[in-house]
Amino acid sequence: MIKDDYSTSLLDVRGITKSFAGARALAGVSLDVRAGEVHCVLGQNGAGKSTLIKVLSGAHQPDEGTILWNGEEVAITSPVAALKLGIATMYQELDVVDGLTIAENIFLGHEDATGGMLHVASMNREARALLARLGHRELSPSAEVGSLSAANKQIVSMARALSHDIKLIIMDEPSAVLDAGEVTKLFTVIRELTSQGIAVIYISHRLEEIREIGDRITVIKDGSSMASGLLVPETSTPEVIKLMTGRAVDSIFPQRTALPDDAPVVLTVDSLELRGLFSGLNFEVRAGEIVGLAGLVGSGRSEILETVYGARRSTGGRVSIRGRALRRGSVDAAVAAGIGMSPEERKSQGLILDEPIFRNITLSSFARFAKAGWLDERAERDVAREQIEALDLRPAEPDRIARTLSGGNQQKILLARWLVHGTDLLLLDEPTRGVDVGARAEIYALIRRLADAGTAILLVSSEIEEVLGLSDRVLVIADGAVVSSAAAADITEQDVLDLVMKGAAA
């Protein structure tokens, strides 16, 4: 919680600007951070959050503006200089070394050694003390980091920051790699840090988290701070969204449409089994219906999708499309039968990042545009351009390399891919991971439009709110079985959590 002495700021950033090769990344950002507070920085993709982090962590030098640290003007010339001041940064892709132990990671670069000989015992002791300070006594300093979960790797990263006598930790979307339970633990650690007077700059897309952990908010749009230091309890969510996107939104989820009684069953899953993960799975998805799978990470929900798609080979049971059973463990059979999938890891499983947008859009259908094996790139570009326009994909350049796009636009490429291919059933795994609030509403609207056009949709998301808001029907998965099936309108977030926990405890 915020301390009462509002008089001095720990960090005071005024009018920072930064350009790269003529492109303005920051056009005037100001914010002040006080000791012991959680200061949330919000903004859509491309708003300039990453550049701001890099300026504060010493990786970039600002063109203009001043940075005051404890009231004194400073220049943060390098990441080492930032650490010396007391600013540590926890990046999204954690910079821990998998092959080293927890203690070795914590003291990486400032090992306790005499003449090159490491003092292992004393480092382990200090590491244990740091882990205890973060409330994670159960982690052994001599454990190898590669064996830890993403959540525990974050703890190691934080312990490393603490080993430097840190006053401020910048956390870049720390919750992106965590599930609900782990996020709760992360918040406990953050509260522990702030109670010791350490300030946290917290970057996240998830507004609900900010409401829970944040003290104040700074919103960045197009490289400028739109509002700085708003108190969280006094700021409504629509207000924040409006500041971020520049437009007002009522509800982020689209209106549900009633499913006609005669809507045909598209997907039938019959006693599907993947040994060790789930078994005896039965459910159906009808044309035009959005069915959401809710469950904890590790409950097998992503694996269910992958097994339906044939990306994993089932060990029993059957998957049928419109009554016809699919060959087991064959993605190309699934695609030929009219299934499409937008995978969980968009970058590593979905896109060819160094290829242009249009080739990513036609990745499942380029052969159809070809004549006797000869590509027709003009036809591909034309159809890609149609999709780009229909989905408002930006930048609207078919030849732009996919890597340079924001998460939301990359997601649109995947949707466009299956729109071009034409699918009866679309499997969506975390369709809005890493997608900012404004673009989320667009993706939701798109998914609903697809369903309205008759596509059956099976959705997996770690955000229960998303599953409930977007789906027509929700299946709750616990311990590899469907423990509940209900209309999304009739079930609350608490119900889902109770069901999930009961299943996990049983």
Binding site: A21, V331, S348, L351, I352, L363, A370
Partner: protein, 354 residues
């Protein structure tokens, strides 16, 4: 991307000297222009140090003739590397194909129906060896490096067994005291429009390879698998089957090279093609194809082959020892790859991710 945070903002001196052209040099056309530039510099240097012995039409044709076999092998290698794989066995496959195509029964049969039979045999041997490579890699899930390393060793062994470690001279087989006549050697002595058939073969293979990589679904699949095999698989591309095709293609190109080499040297031998795989990889990488896959350029590969061939010719003209030739080759490979990396980093830095 987060890795950009590791890259410092300092601009090196060469980068500043390149100035506005660096954006251009980063592109694929730019890379080829860089190679052409290197080629021109090499020719000028050659003219200065070796004079008329280097700069004359006949020497130019000799260079092309010697480069032609490497070029064919390197085109096949370009496909494999673009898909993210590697084929260490093409030199051995070349040797094996040259031997099988020149054993007595094949030569005798070829003397009846024509030398093309020997070519078909060489291509067939290449295809079968490539099929084995591809199947072991795609369905046996053995990494390409190991699978083709095994083939490198094994195919050479089979070639020695088949040939009895003897040089199998074309038209050197005697039936009833008369030597058979296949017509192969005469064919490859021919030079339509003053250019050797060997060079024509290389040109045809290169053009066909360029079209296949850049204009067909086969090429698109190759690039897609190299760029992101998991995404390709989840998009419904039959990745395993295509992988097999790629190694068959590489084997067939070694088969074509084999018949060309037999035509040039007038003999099949189990030692034919030794270390050709390394020359091919060097040319492909210097040409700008990414060793990790996802980007391939046939034009670059051909320019890479020419650079090495011209260098070799100049060194021979001025009597530089083989050892120094090899050292220079090594240096060129490193210099080319370093330059590529610099240009790639720079290209990514021009448009920073916000």
């Amino acid at each position: 991307m987060s890795d950009s945070r590791a890259t410092t903002e300092t601009t090196s001196l060469p980068a500043r000297l390149l100035g506005g052209t660096r954006d251009y040099l980063g592109g694929s056309a730019g890379r080829n222009i860089g190679l052409v530039l290197a080629l021109v510099v090499l020719i000028v240097v050659g003219g200065i140090v070796a004079g008329d012995r280097f700069i004359n039409l006949e020497n130019g044709l000799i260079i092309l003739r010697l480069a032609s076999v490497s070029a064919v092998v390197a085109v096949g290698m370009t496909f494999v590397i673009t898909s993210g794989g590697i084929d260490l066995s093409i030199g051995s496959i070349l040797g094996l194909a040259s031997v099988v195509a020149t054993i007595a029964p094949v030569q005798i049969a070829a003397s009846q129906v024509g030398w093309w039979l020997m070519a078909v045999v060489a291509l067939g041997v290449g295809a079968v060896a490539g099929l084995v490579n591809g199947a072991v890699i795609a369905y046996g899930k053995v990494v390409p490096f190991i699978a083709t390393l095994a083939m490198l060793v094994a195919a050479r062994g089979v070639a020695e067994l088949v040939s009895g470690k003897k040089t199998l001279v074309v038209d050197g087989v005697f039936v009833n005291g008369l030597s058979v006549h296949t017509g192969l050697v005469e064919f490859f002595r021919g030079s339509p429009l003053g250019i050797s058939w060997l060079v024509w073969f290389a040109i045809i293979v290169s053009v066909a390879g360029w079209l296949l990589l850049n204009r067909t679904t086969f090429g698109r699949r190759t690039v897609a698998i190299g760029g992101n095999p998991e995404a390709a698989r989840l998009a419904g591309i039959k990745v395993k089957r295509h992988t097999v095709y790629l190694y068959v293609l590489s084997g067939v190109s070694a088969g074509i090279a084999a018949i060309m080499l037999v035509g040039r040297t007038t003999a099949g031998s189990s030692t034919n093609g030794t270390l050709y795989e390394l020359d091919a990889i060097a040319a492909v990488v210097v040409g700008g194809t990414l060793l990790i896959g996802g980007r391939g350029t046939i034009t670059g590969t051909i320019l890479g082959v020419l650079i090495f061939s011209i260098l070799l010719n100049i060194f021979t003209q001025i009597n530089v020892s083989n050892s120094i030739q090899d050292v220079s080759k090594g240096l060129i490979i490193i210099a080319a790859v370093l330059l590529q990396q610099r240009l790639a980093v720079r290209r990514n830095n021009v448009k920073p991710k916000l």
